[in-house]
């Protein structure tokens, strides 16, 4: 696609940066973080706290993130507020990205953190206009460039970014080697399939007194079963679930054990796919800390953290004989949770471990551990 607006070559000395969208729209701002050029799929997150947890969430792999909250970086960077061992976002877009911060326990500022982690960012953007654009036009690829790259090169790059649709990313962020965590002498063992797991999911499981072995995304079913787990956990992660045949096959094998299975986000989509329910790419996804979900089994509602660009097909569930809906989104009635009839398998689209975000849904971990 050719940009509609003509690109202006920037004077790099004035600290300028440029954001170019796949549909040709151009935004100018100030360079922040690493000086360079980055590409990815643009998405927005409406949460007002927990930026560092968001940056390190593996489900954001491949995404260039807009934070709607207008000040980001105010309380600095604290090494304990992470969801994985590295920054996963591909780029950051903000209205006011702050170098000055105040938090006595914090160790560094946002600028140095992004620069140290090779994240190219752009500040001073009219993020509200940009978000409204994405809301109406849908998710699309984009480029942030702050190194004075020639226009032709930016346009070439823009064409070369793969579409998120059909993209397999989980295996790139999964652990390379299996590892053991949790309570050493616990009587119950959980096998975790790591498609890009958030640290706080493991913490929530560990805190409930189970032993855990985390397996790489592409581990064979046999190797997982050899651990003799009492239950299986399917993690969150990035990318298109429909591109993960290997995981769907593994899940089909392990559910033959009839032991409890709990899936979150990507894990939820994979549980659906392994029961013949298809997934689809959403228009612009759900990302924030304020999404209302109703548990239609108990009648209670919960405020949830969400981060997904794909969803499971409600029509397919209606026609399914063995899958039923347990949770729905109160804003758009999308599917937020399912369970398999007469089987101990359930999953949710949102993040009950929520860091950042509300702790309303922690009961799902109790439910899972209680089933083991």
């Amino acid at each position: 696609m050719q940009p509609k607006n003509s690109l202006v070559i920037m004077n790099n000395s004035s600290n300028q940066a440029i954001l170019v969208l796949e549909d040709g729209n151009v935004f100018y701002g100030k360079s922040f973080g690493k000086i360079g050029t980055t590409t990815g799929e643009i998405c927005f997150c409406t949460g007002m706290t927990g930026y560092q947890e968001v940056f390190t969430d593996p489900s954001y792999t491949g995404q260039v993130l807009i934070l709607n909250n207008v000040h980001v970086g105010n309380y600095g960077i604290y090494d304990k507020d992470v969801e994985s061992d590295s920054v996963k976002i591909r780029g950051l877009i903000g209205r006011n990205l702050e170098e000055k911060y105040s938090r006595p326990v914090a160790q560094k500022n946002l600028q140095n953190y992004l620069a140290d982690n090779n994240v190219v960012a752009i500040s001073g953007i009219d993020t509200r206009a940009l978000v409204a654009h994405i809301r109406t036009q849908g998710a699309m690829n984009c480029i942030i460039s702050s190194d004075g790259k020639p226009v032709e090169e930016i346009l070439e790059l823009l064409k070369s970014i793969p579409s998120m649709d059909g993209l397999e990313l989980a295996s790139t962020v999964s652990t390379k080697e299996p590892y053991i965590t949790g309570q050493k002498y616990a009587t119950k063992k959980v096998a975790v399939l790591d498609f890009g797991i958030k640290q706080n999911i493991l913490t929530n499981l560990v805190n409930r007194g189970v032993a855990i072995k985390v397996f790489p995304a592409k581990t064979s079913a046999q190797e997982i079963l050899d651990y003799k787990p009492d239950g299986f956990f399917l993690s969150n992660g990035p990318g298109d679930p429909a591109s993960m045949d290997y995981a769907i096959e593994t899940i089909k094998e392990i559910i033959k054990e009839d032991k409890p299975v709990f899936g979150i986000c990507l894990g939820h989509q994979l549980l659906a796919l392994s029961h013949g329910i298809n997934t689809f790419k959403m228009h612009h996804g759900h990302r924030g800390l304020n999404h209302p979900v109703k548990n239609i089994i108990t009648g209670r509602s919960e405020i949830t953290t969400q981060n997904h660009g794909f969803g499971v097909d409600p029509e397919a569930i209606k026609q399914s004989e063995n899958v039923e809906v347990t949770h729905v989104n109160l804003n758009d009635n999308s599917i937020e949770g399912i369970r398999i009839k007469n089987k101990p398998f359930f999953s949710v689209q949102y993040h009950p471990e929520a860091t950042p975000g509300p702790h309303d849904s922690r009961y799902l971990f109790d439910q899972f551990v209680g089933m083991l």
């Binding site: 105010n74 809301r135 950042p356």
Partner: protein, 549 residues
């Protein structure tokens, strides 16, 4: 649960005269509630002794009683009308106290009237400081060390035990009336006497003062099914020690990490669920120790308040309107977001702007009044600025104060003070502290010195310093040398054209600045307050202007 159809007629109690500490916010909430209940086909009767209110306009209710807010008036209304339920949470402390008095006299029972939106036991637990403390301790929620005293000698004894600085808080008073800090022994006797006299039950709480901790407020809604949402989190610019009504406040919270925020959120939700059986709005205040990030609960108000009126404006979420619907039986997940009209009312608003509230004081009109700010509210009103940054919002708020201030940029009311005098001056919170902090920064006083003197969070001071940097650049420039980048930067940070003109000096006028920026294509854009950070299309938002690009 859907609407309770047994309720056909509701009595709303107003807040009476507008006094310092309780102003028109209850007219706002009462009017919203009356409308909200009437649109459900329920008859509304209203009592308020103050005719100078919107809520007492004849079209607001089916029947309006302009009567003193006494139990006798209530009885008269109940005699003359067939009232099913009374909603006492819209008229502040005054209405709650009246409802409680009537309850104690058995009036509600006698006329078979249900109290909705509140639980009387909940009022006691929330408003009586001793009960509140015991309740918190029972729940495992940290509070400041304190003792309740019913006599002067008792109070003195406890003060010796706890040590200084202390707070003396009388039970059951409005807007912190009679409360005060005691920094050392010499101030104790007077503060104790004043506190005991201010309390209708001659009771005070002698409490350890957590000076310098940061203060936060959460505005919540709860329904009959125990669903709770946080509508707004407000951060006080002034640290603990200044009454919230007299504090400059900011939303959303600016310096709060997710871990600290979720701790507050969880604690507030547990408090609200444990408070008793009620549905409606509620406000919980916390203090946070910035060093350790531990929190203590300060208070809970089981009713809509001044801060919920602010939170409604700040987020677009009509708290009183929804609270009234919850009181008549609806649950949050059955109601729609009034702004988007196609998403749920059960959600937590996301903001993509900053609001700053600055109180408005009228010390000019109260000659001889003590203008030091403390635990007793002294402001007579407030202004709210909204912008795409803290700096823009604080400037707009300053521009709206209707005094001589032209934004935070230039305000020369006080004769120029030297840096040392300024530091001394701002160490005591007064109405013009914000302006003098700015003067100190302009004079080159370090942020660290100002933090030490005021205990204000350095993040805010860095932001104000940025305004000073822009102003200094403007002072250096004149109309011709003023660059487009600097002019843009100034407009984005809330400088008004007049303010820029004053900084440029040389008799440059507001019109000249306006013409220049128009010629350069720097014009305002309008943004929505839509409850959801543009995630959904809004049907009934309101707008504010700002500068982008």
């Amino acid at each position: 649960m859907p609407k309770d159809n047994s309720i056909k007629s509701v009595l709303i109690i107003g807040s009476g005269p507008i006094v310092i500490g309780q102003a028109c916010e209850f007219d706002y909430s009462g009017s919203q509630a009356a409308r909200s209940i009437r649109e459900e086909g329920i008859k509304v009767t209203l009592i308020n002794s103050n005719p100078a209110t919107i809520m007492t306009d004849p079209m607001m209710a089916d029947r309006v009683y302009l009567l003193p807010l006494t139990v006798e008036s209530i009885e008269q209304i109940l005699e003359e009308n067939d009232i099913d339920a009374v909603l006492p949470t819209m008229g502040g402390q005054t209405a709650l106290n009246l409802a409680k008095e009537a309850e104690e006299l058995g009036i509600w029972e006698k006329y078979n009237v249900r109290l909705i939106g509140v639980d009387i036991k909940a009022i006691d637990k929330a408003e009586d400081r001793e009960l509140f403390r015991n309740w918190m301790i029972e729940m495992g929620v940290p509070v400041a060390p304190a003792h309740t005293a019913n006599s002067f000698l008792e109070g003195k004894d406890f003060a010796q035990q706890i040590g200084f600085p202390l707070v003396i808080r009388p039970s059951f008073t409005l807007g912190g009336g009679g409360a005060g800090f005691v920094h050392d022994k010499s101030e104790l006797d007077e503060a104790l006497n004043r506190g005991l006299q201010a309390s209708p039950i001659h009771e005070v709480l002698v409490e350890k003062a957590v000076l310098g901790w940061k203060e936060f407020e959460l505005e919540l809604l709860r329904d009959n099914a125990d669903n709770v949402v946080i509508i707004c989190t407000v951060e006080n610019f002034d640290p603990m020690g200044v009454h919230t009504g007299d504090s400059i406040t900011v939303a959303p919270a600016m310096t709060l990490s997710d871990t600290a925020f979720q701790l507050m959120r969880n604690t507030a939700i547990n408090m609200m669920r444990d408070l008793g059986n009620f549905a409606g709005g509620c406000n919980v205040q916390f203090a946070l120790n910035p060093e350790t990030e531990e929190i203590i609960a300060i208070e809970i108000n089981p009713r809509v308040s001044r801060s919920s009126a602010l939170a409604s404006k700040a987020t677009g979420y009509p708290i009183a309107k929804i609270a009234a619907k919850l009181a008549i039986g609806y649950n949050l997940d059955e109601l729609e977001n009034q702004i988007t009209q196609n998403t749920s009312a059960y959600f937590e608003p996301a903001l993509d702007y900053v609001i700053v509230k600055i109180p408005r004081w009228n010390f000019d009109k109260f000659k001889g009044a003590n203008d030091v700010l403390g635990l007793q509210m002294k402001s007579v009103g407030e202004v709210m600025g909204i912008g795409r940054s803290f700096t823009e919002a604080v400037q707009k708020a300053c521009q709206s104060l209707e005094n001589d201030a032209i934004g935070l940029g230039t305000y020369n009311k006080n004769p120029a003070m030297r840096p040392d005098d300024l530091l001394q001056y701002i160490s005591i919170p007064k109405w013009d502290r914000l302006f003098r902090i700015k003067d100190a920064l302009m004079a080159g006083v370090s942020i660290k010195s100002i933090v030490d003197a005021t205990l204000i969070d350095p993040w805010f001071l860095h932001q104000i310093k940025h305004l000073c940097d822009i102003e200094k650049q403007l002072i250096e420039a004149d109309l011709d040398t003023l660059t487009i980048d600097l002019l843009k930067e100034a407009k984005r940070h809330g400088f008004s054209d007049l303010q820029i003109a004053k900084a440029l000096g040389n008799k440059i006028t507001e019109d000249q600045v306006y013409e220049k920026r128009k010629a350069l294509g720097i014009t305002r854009v309008f943004k929505m307050v839509d409850t959801c950070s543009a995630e959904f299309e809004a049907k009934t938002p309101y707008f504010y202007s700002t500068f982008e690009g």
